[in-house]
């Protein structure tokens, strides 16, 4: 058992700085006496659902990206669709599963999140991606 006091504001500040410097988005420490959770606010929160963050977009219409909800191996494709449906670009609906993020034997479904035209796949199959990495690009259809 280490002697670090995780309730000490100085320790928390240090850890927060370290996480920010390392580009790590969060940390959770559970001990018998309590739990410490630090979430670094990036102002560009990546979520499994599509966020409407308008990146300094060259085009007029805002492109949506589906981002990695955490670190893992990128597995594009859906078992619910035939392989032929994997062509790009293609129309997708909000509930469509575009692929998975694999962490060991666990698979996190990656949903389109909104209807549109799936134009790009931004990572290679089985690539190790990090939290918030863009994986797909969708042109919203209004």
């Amino acid at each position: 058992m280490s002697g670090i006091d995780f309730s000490d504001p100085a320790t928390i500040a240090f850890l927060t700085d370290a996480l920010t410097a390392a580009g790590v988005s969060g940390l959770e420490i559970s001990r018998p006496g309590g739990q410490l959770r630090i979430v670094i606010a990036t102002g560009n929160e990546a979520r499994i659902d599509v966020s409407a963050t308008s990146q300094p977009a060259p085009a007029a219409q805002p492109l949506m990206t589906v981002k990695a909800p955490m670190a893992g191996h990128f597995c594009p494709g859906s078992p619910l669709r035939s392989p032929a449906a994997g062509r790009l670009p293609r129309t997708v609906s909000a509930a469509d599963i575009l692929g998975f993020l694999r962490v060991g034997p666990v698979l996190l479904p990656l949903c389109a999140g909104r209807a549109g035209i799936l134009t790009k796949q931004l990572a290679e199959p089985d690539a190790l991606v990090g939290f918030g990495d863009p994986l797909f690009e969708i042109e919203p259809q209004s």
């Binding site: 959770e28 659902d49 599963i97 962490v103 666990v106 996190l108 479904p109």
Partner: protein
């Protein structure tokens, strides 16, 4: 509560069974595919042995009366939540009033519905499994019927299931190395020579070398196989003795019977072999009319398969909990 909206016959509440009472004539019962129940329960945040629904006749559907975490495991094919197609081997959260529907699976036999908190039916002799023969356990000791309402326990899982679901690489894929695929359309089932193996000529060659078909006279108690009858070199009179799931008996007609989850507790037919425990789930997923071959195994191989399965289950538990915690922390 969940309410059964539609069901075929012989769909029951099952957990991992009721071992330890065969000496007083109580079958072990339990899921025919216990690995599917364990993984389903882990996905929804339960203990591995929580009670689930075993669906072996389709279509089947149920309604949730409150927000509920659930997963469908075991059989292939995609379940439907209202009109939305879902993944098997994936935990989701259903809203109150939503209906989960299971269609007939394309190739496998049994689907399992695990519910966050488990099915809260009374535990009888340490298990919530339905004993159809004894008419006790599970949901009032009988198969589910339309209109049945079953209580759901309180979930102790603190980390929520991610909004888009939490899935696993299913055992047949993740454990491909230790569970060989069909060979010429026949399921390889590993077995060890049984107590009366020596009664059969040519080292049991007729048993091991032919492809057997699972006959229509097969159920949770046992699979009756059809094929070229096999005969012992001498007919012997045997007293009844204890048997268990996996035991392969050869009755006088010469077509073997494999004892399954609702196995008889005693029997007097010669035992030619016993299916290794780790292969029973594959047999539980084999459909009537499908074909299988027995492959002579060893205790060492059976142990190695068991250890590989244990590693996979542990990995699923550890990783799924870690993923849920991480997503909650980053939400």
């Amino acid at each position: 509560m969940i309410e059964i909206v539609e069901t075929g016959p012989f769909n029951t509440v099952q957990d991992l069974g009721r071992p330890g009472y065969r000496d007083i004539g109580v079958s072990a019962s339990g899921a025919m595919d216990p690995l599917a129940v364990r993984i389903g329960n882990i996905l929804v945040g339960n203990e591995e042995g929580a009670a689930a629904i075993e669906v072996q006749t389709f279509p089947f559907s149920l309604r949730f009366d409150r927000r509920t975490v659930f997963a469908v495991t075991g059989a292939d094919g995609d379940p439907l939540l209202d009109a939305l197609e879902l993944l098997s081997w994936c935990a989701y959260t259903a809203e109150a009033g939503q209906v989960l529907a299971l269609k007939h699976p394309p190739t496998l036999a049994r689907a399992y519905v695990s519910i966050g908190g488990g099915l809260d039916v009374p535990s009888v002799m340490g298990s919530r499994s339905t004993s159809l023969r004894g008419s006790f356990g599970g949901n009032a000791g009988r198969p589910l019927e339309k209109g049945d309402r079953i209580a759901v326990g309180n979930s102790t899982d603190l980390a929520p299931v991610p909004a888009n679901g939490l899935a696993v690489i299913e055992p047949a894929v993740a454990l491909r190395e230790v569970f060989p695929d069909l060979v010429d359309g026949a399921l390889p089932v590993r077995a060890l020579p049984g107590g009366e193996h020596a009664l059969f000529p040519d080292d049991g060659d007729a048993f091991w070398s032919q492809t057997w078909k699972i006959s229509s006279r097969s159920d949770r108690t046992g699979y009756r196989l059809s094929g070229e009858p096999i005969k012992p070199t001498a007919s012997i009179e045997m007293r009844s003795h204890g048997i268990m799931p996996g035991v392969i008996q050869v009755p006088p007609g010469g077509e073997p019977i494999v004892q399954m989850s609702d196995a008889n507790t005693a029997g007097g037919y010669p035992k030619i072999a016993g299916v290794i425990e780790c292969d029973l789930w594959r047999l539980g997923q084999a459909r009537i009319g499908s074909r299988l071959r027995f492959v002579r195994s060893t205790h060492a191989e059976a142990r190695a398969v068991e250890q590989a399965v244990a590693r996979y289950v542990k990995d699923v538990r550890t990783t799924s909990e870690m993923v849920k915690r991480a997503l909650r922390a980053m939400a």
